[in-house]
């Protein structure tokens, strides 16, 4: 595997221009959608099968009673332990040699299990093609030496593209700077490869708690439940089996058993 590539989105630099959102649509030839009134400048309210980059506008009350914006250009996290990838029964969702997570459109069969298995609500079902869609990390561009369209376009370098280890070092420095400037709530989200989901290959610098950005504090692999729940099901099977045995058992012990075997022979003869 080649060195892992990543995107680092520094939300402290985001000015909410949505150039990333537009560049993503342009490059990936994603059609426009009917805008929705969300009560803020944000459009749309969530990722869709036609919106892979989404600038979030979060209104945060200040001490003086006024509102301020937290801006965040959100995207598929390309998790190191990806729930969608593990859920995919066809193998359409795969990890590329760069560590990103992609959906092979020709293989996806539209079962939608990945949609419910993404801890971030990223993967979306495309009703036109009957297949699941999400950010491709501009797979075609990175294979040709170009960065993802969103990172290339970002005028403030809020979105940076590069090797993961180098970006994490950069992010750590930036965080220290911001802390020094008095942004005490600033924190990295998904940078730690020993953290939840083995780290995110699209990670973030946030200016507030993840919950403020509607991000899960500790995202977890959905598949962590499979073993325990299966064992509990086996227990249930055993108890159900005992009940049915009690109802059907032959009364009269071994004699009854013999009677049954005789009966079977007779049955065979008649049928």
């Amino acid at each position: 595997m080649a060195r892992t590539l990543a995107m680092f989105t520094d939300t402290s630099l985001c000015i909410g221009c949505r150039a990333c959102q537009v560049a993503c649509k342009e490059w990936n030839e994603l059609p426009s959608e009917q805008p929705e009134w969300t009560g803020s400048y944000q459009n749309h309210s969530t990722f869709t099968d036609k919106t892979y980059r989404l600038v979030r506008f979060i209104e945060k009350p200040q001490a003086n009673g006024e509102l301020s914006w937290l801006l965040m250009s959100d995207v598929c996290k390309h998790c190191a332990q990806a729930g969608c990838l593990e859920a995919c029964p066809t193998g359409a969702i795969h990890r590329t040699e760069y560590g990103t997570v992609n959906i092979n459109q020709d293989v996806c069969n539209g079962c939608r299990y990945c949609v419910s298995s993404c801890p971030f609500g990223v993967v979306s079902f495309n009703h036109d093609t009957g297949r699941a869609n999400k950010c491709t990390f501009c797979n075609d561009r990175i294979h040709n030496g170009l960065g993802p369209a969103c990172a290339k376009t970002c005028p403030t370098e809020s979105i940076q593209f590069g090797f993961r280890d180098e970006l994490v070092t950069k992010a750590d420095k930036r965080l220290a700077t911001l802390k020094g400037m008095g942004y005490t709530d600033a924190q990295l989200y998904g940078a730690d490869s020993n953290g939840p989901l083995g780290g995110l290959n699209a990670f973030f610098l946030l200016l507030d708690k993840p919950a403020t950005y509607a991000l899960p504090e500790k995202p977890a692999r959905p598949q962590r439940n499979v073993i325990v729940d299966s064992l509990l099901s086996v227990g249930s099977a055993l108890l159900v089996g005992v009940g049915a045995l009690l109802a059907f058992r032959q009364r009269g012990g071994p004699d009854g058993r013999d009677e049954k075997r005789d009966g079977d022979t007779k049955d065979g003869g008649h049928a």
Binding site: T46, F47, G83, E86, A87, C88, P89, T90, G91, V107, C108, N109, G110, C111, R112, Y113, V115, S116, S117, C118, P119, F120, G121, V123, S124, F125, G130, A214, P219, P222, Q223, N225, V226, D229, S230, L232, S233, S236, A237, L239, V240, G241, G243, A244, L245, L246, A247, F248, R249, Q250, G256, E259, K260, G263, D264, K266, D267, G268, H270, A271
Partner: protein, 271 residues
């Protein structure tokens, strides 16, 4: 922020009928292996019912994909830890068992009965799997309520067993076999299964606590409490135990209604 897979009635029907198929096969196998020769009608009905329903199940799943031929993509891959992948394979395997058992329950010949019995014990594992894995599949997602439900697979299995027994009882009644001993045994087995399911449902809700809110309160609550708990579980149990002079088929029909409602409220809670 999290996304629903938009599974609707096709999937509800699949979960419901898959449960009956698994439960009916298991009941037939118990009657076949541990019952008396008089229980022949029970296992014949059980095996054939399982075969018919598992075929319907396959069709439902294929229809849900939108483009039917894409179900083949599911068979190009096997992930033993992924409920959806292993479920697709096991559905085929269970279908093969149900087919073999159905054929063997009508074919006479030396050793046929013995072969059928041994086969059915292995097939029961596949049947139990089909009844339970759909619950584990839901609990291995990122969606609230589903992901907290540790006993979902166990509960689906108990419900599958109970509805499978109820379906056999209903068919025996319709075929005019309701005076036989097999019919009585199936009813008795279903009584135990209903009791077990009630206990399991109580534990399911207790473990979920507040996470169960989407089904115990809100728009699904009347269906859950009225349709499942009262009509689908408590009334059939009271009718069975009290020995009222109602036709024995009434509790069986109510159990089936309850089994459908269980799958409906749980799937629709995240629709």
């Amino acid at each position: 922020m999290l996304k629903s897979p938009d599974w609707h009635l096709l999937i509800v029907w699949y979960f419901f009928l898959g449960g009956i198929a698994g439960g009916a096969y298991f009941t037939a196998a118990i009657a076949d292996n541990f019952g008396s020769p008089k229980d022949k009608s029970v296992f014949r009905v059980g095996y054939v019912l399982a075969l018919l329903l598992v075929s319907v199940c396959g069709i439902l799943l294929i229809l849900d994909l939108g483009t039917p031929s894409r179900f083949l993509n599911m068979l190009m891959n096997f992930k033993f830890w992924d409920p959806m992948s292993i479920g697709a394979w096991m559905l085929g395997l269970f279908g093969a068992f149900a087919f073999a058992s159905s054929v063997l329950s009508f074919v006479a010949g030396p050793g046929m009965a013995g072969l059928r019995r041994r086969l059915s014990l292995i097939g029961t594992i596949a049947g139990f799997f089909i009844a339970a894995y759909t619950g584990v599949l839901l609990s291995a997602t990122a969606l609230p309520f589903w992901r907290e439900a540790r006993l979902m697979g166990a509960l689906f299995l108990a419900s599958g067993a109970s509805t499978g027994m109820a379906a056999i009882a209903l068919l025996l009644y319709l075929f005019g076999e309701s005076t036989g001993e097999g019919y009585k045994k199936v009813k008795r087995a279903d009584r135990y299964a209903i009791m077990f399911e009630i206990v399991l449902l109580a534990a399911f809700l207790a473990l979920l606590g507040g996470a169960a809110l989407p089904i115990v309160s809100g728009h699904l609550a009347p269906l859950f409490w009225g349709g499942l708990v009262v009509v689908g579980l408590l009334i059939p149990l009271v009718l069975e135990v009290s020995g009222l002079s109602l036709p024995g088929v009434v509790p069986a029909a109510l159990v089936l209604v309850g089994g459908f409602i269980l799958r409906y409220v749980i799937v629709m809670a995240n629709a």
